[in-house]
C-alpha cells in the first residue's frame, strides 16, 4: 500500500537574476512501513523534497499524494491540520519546547489533535518508555543529553500515530554511540508500529540502517534501491 506517491515533482527557486531547480521532475512511491533514507550531497534537494512531502513548502509543479490526498491542492489552513494528523517531524536540532517536560512535549501534540486525557496519558507513557525514557518523563530538555532530547523528539513525532515520519538529518548533532541507539529505537518503532520513516541524511550510519536508499543529485533521483 502506497503512503506517498510523487508524480513529476518540480521545485524551482527563482529571483530576478536566476532560477535554480532544486527538485527536478521527481517520481517516487513510498510504501507503508518503509525505512527509507534519501541521501545526496549538500544542495542536492533532499530537504526541499522532504519539505514538500511534509506540506511545508509548495511545489512548482507536479503532485504529491499522501494516502491518496493531493497535498498541493490544500490551502495553508488545511495543510497545518494535515501535518498535525498525518506527519511526524524529527528535526536536526531536536526543537523541543524548553519550558515543558519530556512528557509535556510529547502529549502537547496529542492535545492539539483533540485526544482525550486518558489516551494522551497512556500513549505518552507508552511511547516514552519505548524510546527508553520512562524514567525521564518529568525532565526538562535542559536536564537531558542531546541523544535523550532527540529520543523525546522521536517520541513526539510518533505519539500522534502519523502516517509517516520525516526525519531531517536526525543524527547530525549526535555522537556515534547515541546515533546507534537512536537508530535502533527508530527501527524498532518502525517494525513494531509499522510507521513509515523517511530520512534525509548524509550520515553513513543512517544509510547502513535504511532498507531503501534513494540518492539525489542536482534535484534528480539518480539511484533508488532496496538494500534489505
Amino acid at each position: 500500500m502506497n503512503v506517498i506517491e510523487i508524480k513529476d515533482l518540480v521545485k524551482i527557486y527563482s529571483n530576478n537574476v536566476m532560477e535554480v531547480t532544486a527538485v527536478d521532475n521527481v517520481n517516487l512511491t513510498i510504501e507503508k512501513g518503509e525505512f527509507t533514507a534519501i541521501v545526496g550531497p549538500s544542495g542536492s534537494g533532499k530537504t526541499t523534497l522532504l519539505n514538500m512531502i511534509g506540506g511545508l513548502d509548495q511545489a512548482t509543479s507536479g503532485q504529491i499524494l499522501v494516502d491518496g490526498v493531493d497535498v498541493s491542492t490544500l490551502n495553508s489552513k488545511q495543510l497545518v491540520d494535515f501535518r498535525l494528523h498525518n506527519i511526524g517531524f524529527v528535526f536536526q536540532s531536536y526543537n523541543l519546547i524548553p519550558v515543558l517536560t519530556a512528557s509535556e512535549n510529547v502529549s502537547f501534540i496529542m492535545e492539539m489533535q483533540g485526544l482525550d486525557k486518558a489516551t494522551i496519558q497512556s500513549r505518552t507513557t507508552e511511547i516514552l518508555t519505548e524510546v527508553g525514557l520512562g524514567d525521564r518523563m518529568e525532565s526538562r530538555p535542559n536536564q537531558m543529553s542531546g541523544g535523550q532530547q532527540q529520543r523525546v523528539a522521536v517520541a513526539r513525532a510518533m505519539a500522534s500515530r502519523p502516517k509517516f515520519i520525516i526525519a531531517d538529518e536526525p543524527t547530525a548533532n549526535l555522537d556515534s554511540k547515541t546515533t546507534e541507539k537512536l537508530l535502533d529505537i527508530m527501527e524498532e518503532l518502525n517494525e513494531k508500529e509499522n510507521i513509515t520513516f523517511l530520512f534525509s541524511t548524509h550520515d553513513q550510519r543512517v544509510v547502513n540502517k535504511a532498507r531503501r536508499i534513494i540518492v539525489l543529485e542536482d534535484g534528480k533521483i539518480v539511484k533508488d534501491e532496496k538494500v534489505r
Binding site: 489552513k77 497545518v80 491540520d81 501535518r83 498535525l84 517531524f89 524548553p98 515543558l100 501534540i109 489533535q113
Partner: protein, 475 residues
C-alpha cells in the same frame, strides 16, 4: 496546555519579565492610588457640598435668588411645611432667615450672610456643628444671649483670632513633645499678640531655625492660636421696614470647613434672635434646606415639590454647587482616563518585551507551526503570554494601590502646606483617599484589554513566520 505553555513562557527570561512586571506593578499602584486620592477629594467635596453646605435641595422665593432682600420670603410657608413633613422621602428640613449684613468689631469688619437657624432642625440637615474647632467654643451650647457662630476665616478678618504664646501654650508644647530648647527661644514673645498667622509665622522664622520651623511649626501654630470667645460682633442690616438695624452678637463658637469661600461668607445665629430684630415672624424665612433619605431621588423630589408649589424655586445641590456636581459627573471617567494613559505608556514596554521574546523563539515557533500548531493557537499562546505578563504586575499593583488607599484613607494625607489654595476652591486640605471595588473590576478589564492589544504586533510577527525558514534559524 496552551495556557500552561504561555504561563511558563512568561518566566523563560525571568529578569526581563520581572522588569516589565515591576513597571506594570508601579504604574498600576500609582494609577490606583492617584484615582483613590482624587475620589477621596471628590467624595469629601460632595459630602461637604450636600451634608454641610447645601443639603440635597433648597427652597427659595424666586425673587430672592436675584435680589437677597429681606422681603423676598418663601410664600405659602405653612403649606410647604406640611408638605415636607408628610413626604416620607424627606429625612429632615430646616428653615433659615438670611440677611446680608456688615459685621464689625473694633479691629475689623467684613460682609457676611447672617443666617438665623433653628439649632436642632439645622443639625439634622447640616453637620456644620461637627466643624467647631477644638478650644473654639461650641455650637450654641453655652446658652448666652445673642450667640453667634463664625468661621475661622471670619474670626481672622474681624481680628477675633490671634496667636499668642501664653503660659498654657508653653505647657501644651511641652506635652506635645516640643524640645525645651525650642520653647526657650519662644520665651521672648511670651504674651505678645499676633493678629494674623503670617505675622506669627514670620516671627517664628526669625526665632527658630528653618529645620525647627519645618518640624515644629504646625504644632506651635496650633497651640498658640486663640479665639476671643464672647467677643461682641456688631451686625448691621436692613429690617423688613427698610430701617438700618445694628445688633451685637457674642461669638460662642468658631468653625472651619474645607471650603474657605463658604466659611468666609456665612455666620449663624438663632432664628429666634434674628427674626424679631429683623421684623420677621417665626414662619417667615428665606431658605429651606432639605436632606433626603435617598440622594438618588433628588430630581424626582425636586420636580414634585416644584410642581406642587409653582410659586417657589427648588434648587438641587448640583445647581448650587456646580463645581462639585460637574466633578462628580465626570470623575468616574477621569479615573479610567488616568489608568488608560498609564497602561498606554506601559503597553510600549510590554510590546517591546514580547517582540524580543518572539525573536528569541523564532525557531521554536517555526517548529510548532511545522508540527501542526495552527494560527489561532499561535496567536492565543502569544496573547495569553502578554496578558499574563501584564496581569501579574497589575494584580500586585492593584493590591498595593488598594493597601495604600486603605492606609492613607485612615491616616489622611495632609496637603496643608499648599492647602489654602485647595480650601479656597472648596477642596479639603486633608484628604482621605477611597476607592470602589467596581474600579478594580474596570481596571482588570483595561489590563486584559492592554494585554490583548499589546499582543497584536508580536503575534502578527509570529504568524508571518515561514516554518521552513524559521526552523533553520540558529537562535
Amino acid at each position: 496546555m496552551i495556557w500552561s505553555i504561555a504561563w511558563k513562557n512568561v518566566w523563560r527570561n525571568r529578569k526581563r519579565s520581572l522588569i516589565v512586571i515591576t513597571a506594570v506593578l508601579l504604574g498600576t499602584t500609582a494609577g490606583v492610588f492617584t484615582s483613590g486620592l482624587m475620589k477621596g477629594w471628590v467624595e469629601q467635596r460632595l459630602r461637604s457640598a450636600v451634608y454641610t453646605e447645601q443639603g440635597h435641595l433648597k427652597i427659595y422665593n424666586p425673587e430672592f435668588l436675584n435680589n437677597e432682600e429681606i422681603n423676598n420670603i418663601i410664600p405659602q410657608s405653612s403649606n410647604i411645611e406640611e408638605y415636607l413633613q408628610n413626604d416620607k422621602r424627606i429625612k429632615a428640613f430646616s428653615h433659615r432667615v438670611k440677611l446680608m449684613s456688615m459685621a464689625s468689631t473694633s479691629r475689623g469688619n467684613t460682609a457676611l450672610m447672617l443666617q438665623g437657624i433653628d439649632v436642632e432642625k439645622e443639625k439634622q440637615v447640616s453637620d456644620l456643628y461637627k466643624f467647631i474647632l477644638p478650644n473654639a467654643g461650641s455650637y450654641f451650647a453655652d446658652g448666652g444671649s445673642y450667640p453667634i457662630i463664625i468661621s475661622d476665616k471670619t474670626a481672622e478678618q474681624l481680628r477675633i483670632k490671634n496667636y499668642t504664646m501664653k503660659a498654657e501654650t508653653f505647657d501644651s508644647l511641652r506635652n506635645a513633645g516640643i524640645p525645651a530648647s525650642v520653647s526657650e527661644k519662644l520665651k521672648i514673645i511670651e504674651n505678645e499678640r499676633f493678629n494674623t498667622e503670617n505675622l506669627f509665622k514670620k516671627r517664628l522664622s526669625e526665632l527658630l531655625s528653618h529645620k525647627e520651623v519645618k518640624k515644629y511649626g504646625a504644632e506651635i501654630l496650633k497651640a498658640a492660636k486663640h479665639y476671643r470667645l464672647n467677643s461682641k460682633v456688631v451686625f448691621t442690616f436692613t429690617d423688613k421696614s427698610d430701617e438700618l438695624i445694628s445688633q451685637a452678637f457674642k461669638v460662642c463658637g468658631v468653625f472651619k470647613t474645607s471650603n474657605t469661600m463658604f466659611d468666609q461668607m456665612n455666620a449663624y445665629v438663632l432664628q429666634s434672635d434674628l427674626a424679631p430684630i429683623a421684623g420677621l415672624t417665626a414662619s417667615e424665612y428665606h431658605e429651606t434646606g432639605i436632606l433626603l433619605n435617598d440622594g438618588t431621588l433628588l430630581e424626582k423630589v425636586k420636580s414634585d415639590i416644584g410642581n406642587t408649589f409653582p410659586d417657589i424655586n427648588v434648587l438641587s445641590w448640583k445647581e448650587l454647587a456646580p463645581d462639585a456636581a460637574m466633578t462628580n459627573d465626570y470623575m468616574g471617567m477621569y479615573y479610567y482616563i488616568i489608568m488608560g494613559f498609564i497602561l498606554f505608556a506601559l503597553a510600549f514596554g510590554i510590546i517591546n518585551t514580547m517582540m524580543m521574546s518572539i525573536l528569541e523563539r523564532t525557531k521554536e515557533l517555526g517548529m510548532l507551526m511545522a508540527i501542526g500548531m495552527n494560527k489561532t493557537r499561535v496567536f492565543s499562546m502569544i496573547m495569553l503570554e502578554t496578558i499574563f505578563l501584564t496581569l501579574v504586575g497589575a494584580v500586585i499593583g492593584m493590591l498595593l494601590g488598594w493597601l495604600s488607599v486603605v492606609i492613607t484613607g485612615h491616616t489622611g494625607l495632609d496637603f496643608s502646606s499648599v492647602g489654602e489654595g485647595f480650601e479656597a476652591m472648596g477642596w479639603a486640605a486633608i484628604v482621605y483617599p477611597e476607592i470602589d471595588a467596581s474600579f478594580f473590576f474596570g481596571v482588570t478589564l483595561m489590563v486584559v484589554a492592554t494585554g490583548i492589544l499589546s499582543s497584536i504586533l508580536p503575534a502578527r510577527k509570529a504568524l508571518k513566520l515561514n516554518p521552513v525558514e524559521a526552523i533553520r534559524i540558529d537562535n
